[in-house]
Subunit: 362 residues, 2 copies
């Protein structure tokens, strides 16, 4: 019935389709597709001509049609844990932001874009987006969003060892035990006699591994464990827990805090109890924030290197998507970095802190 010579102006008037380009260039649809995608065997003249016409018409291939045809969308999900309504918790802010930033860049460099998908997303939302694969941060075995993605055959790469038997294609993680042991040794070297821990009540892998590493270390060196746990996603609970820890009769003379805000909270608590840092109390916390470089005193922090993790996770995922046989292992352990500052330098308390000078001196 309808001959092909009707220019099909029924669709969106603004957007030119591949058909329009073909007609305008006087070639077939196949030739246009081949010319623009570098496929087929065409003389350069034809290729140039087609490209030129396409540019002139402002032709943009339909992503949906391409995805439908090729089965590849160029989208990868970034599944984040949720506490309450909001994606990613307060304590993970800096970590998550850095990690997502690096992941975005890495994905972009390989032609992919990132879709933010909270783990508690409504089913109809994340099943309605065509993903080529997913990065999942700190997967729990209860996460049936991830479970179903895996069941659908989508590649999944996790940040953090997968709990339970989640069959992820690859994972990237820090060696949290080694990191904690390293910090405890560092504090002991600095003269700490009784090291306390500020930890979380949640059951995630990071908290669990770090806490047990602490307990093992205590057992090994024969120290009684001194720790306080609090719900890490509650911004106020941290300050209270820090206070509790320093109020104990067996008050530690050094503390490691597992979460980002612990540093300022512990510092504030120390001030309340009249404890000088680092003279009376050594302090280290796990954080990606740079504020700890300019606190009084600057606080030693452990960086989990979220940038490297984000990059590695995305690389592994895209390798899995594209079927690249990478020479990288599918389990990568990213080393942590201890940034030593004044708060854990017991023996040289006055090298970086200048004593106050009088105002007229400035």
């Amino acid at each position: 019935m309808s001959r092909a010579d009707t220019p099909r102006r029924g669709s969106r008037p603004g957007r030119a389709g591949i058909r329009d380009v073909a007609a305008a260039a006087g070639v077939s649809i196949t030739t246009v597709s081949d010319a623009l995608n570098g496929k087929g065997r065409l003389p350069d003249a034809t290729r140039r001509h087609v490209r030129e016409v396409a540019d002139r018409l402002g032709y943009r291939p339909s992503a949906a049609a391409r995805t439908l045809r090729t089965g590849k969308s160029g989208l990868i999900g970034l599944t984040v844990t949720t506490y309450g309504d909001e994606p990613f918790t307060f304590t993970e802010f800096a970590y998550f932001a850095e990690m997502a930033r690096a992941a975005t860049s890495a994905a972009l460099a390989r032609g992919y874009a990132l879709v933010i998908l909270p783990a508690t997303s409504r089913h109809d939302v994340w099943s309605n987006v065509a993903l080529d694969g997913t990065v999942v941060i700190d997967p729990s075995d209860e996460d049936h969003v991830v479970g179903e993605l895996v069941r659908q055959g989508l590649p999944v790469v996790s940040d953090g060892r997968p709990a339970g038997s989640l069959p992820v294609a690859a994972w990237v993680d820090n060696d949290h035990e080694a990191a904690v042991l390293g910090i405890l040794d560092h504090l002991a070297d600095a003269g700490a006699r009784r090291i306390g821990l500020l930890t979380g009540t949640t059951t995630d892998t990071y908290t669990h591994l770090s806490t047990t590493a602490y307990l093992h270390w205590c057992e090994r060196v024969g120290q009684d464990p001194v720790y306080e746990a609090y719900p890490a996603h509650d911004p106020c609970a941290g300050a209270v827990a820090a206070d509790r820890l320093l109020a104990r009769p067996d008050r530690p003379d050094a503390v490691y805090g597992l979460f980002d805000p612990n540093g300022t909270d512990l510092l504030a608590a120390a001030r309340r109890y009249g404890l000088r840092v680092p003279e009376d109390l050594l302090l280290v916390c796990c954080s990606e924030s740079t504020v700890y470089a300019s606190t009084e005193p600057p606080i030693t922090t452990l960086s989990l290197k979220p940038r490297r993790i984000g990059t590695a996770v995305v690389q592994l995922l895209i390798d899995a998507i594209e079927g690249v046989k990478s020479d990288q292992p599918v389990q990568q352990v990213i080393p942590t970095e201890l940034i030593v500052r004044t708060s854990s330098e017991r023996r040289s308390p006055r090298t970086t802190i200048s004593p106050p000078r009088s105002p007229e001196e400035g």
Copy 2:
């Protein structure tokens, strides 16, 4: 040729299509589509039956096919400014993270997902994802990514007044002039005689509006402007600029810092010059971070309410996408919030700071 009774097992073996559901349920494709989407006029028995069969087969509609057919992808872009290689700059970390978080939640609640798209994305990446619309943060008139999206007819809503004549569908912003004037008045009320400003060298709207508001205020009250500008995306430059500001012969007795890290940097600089806060120097900075609640002393901050902005931006965008005639205006001004803490309370310096007590007292 090929009769319809061949079950088309040539496609992905794992995924059931709408055809398979229709065959298994003994109905037509149309009936399946209508039953699952709530369209058409079907008896509830049929609807239930189809739904049941679909569940049993684990049927998931293809997002790509649906997008191609309906023209709606359920994806909205989140376009962020870039400095160097990485999306969103260091100084905007907390703001951006909060804003993105709220935007993600709001989008999710209405059935949309967010795609992170740095403004400097390779052309082929962001033109390869089917977007229903875009949120753009702090749009510059030079941003030809946004320009082209608009030209394609995609709804664009911006966080921040659009520079130049970018024809966005709507925008959300703070009243930055009013915020700055409010802070300056607040500092003056607290006893400040000469208020300094720590600002940026970039040409974005926020920096520009805030700086001119400061200059106007100075002119009005007859104070000589005292300010230092630095490239805000450089993490180190801020500390240097803070130092410079306090080293000036016309040293201010109060400072407002436009960027998040300015608080700690100014505090550190004040310590170096032996200036007590708030006795010798009043301090306010613009930040979303909670660390300023537990610095010594706690620092007064201005919050731009990124959560409210993120939510509002997404609501406006989705309204535009769905053609909803919202009763909300298409330009929304979100009020800022000044969180007053010790650093700007000149007349009551010792209400919240406990003097150090001796260690044995704990």
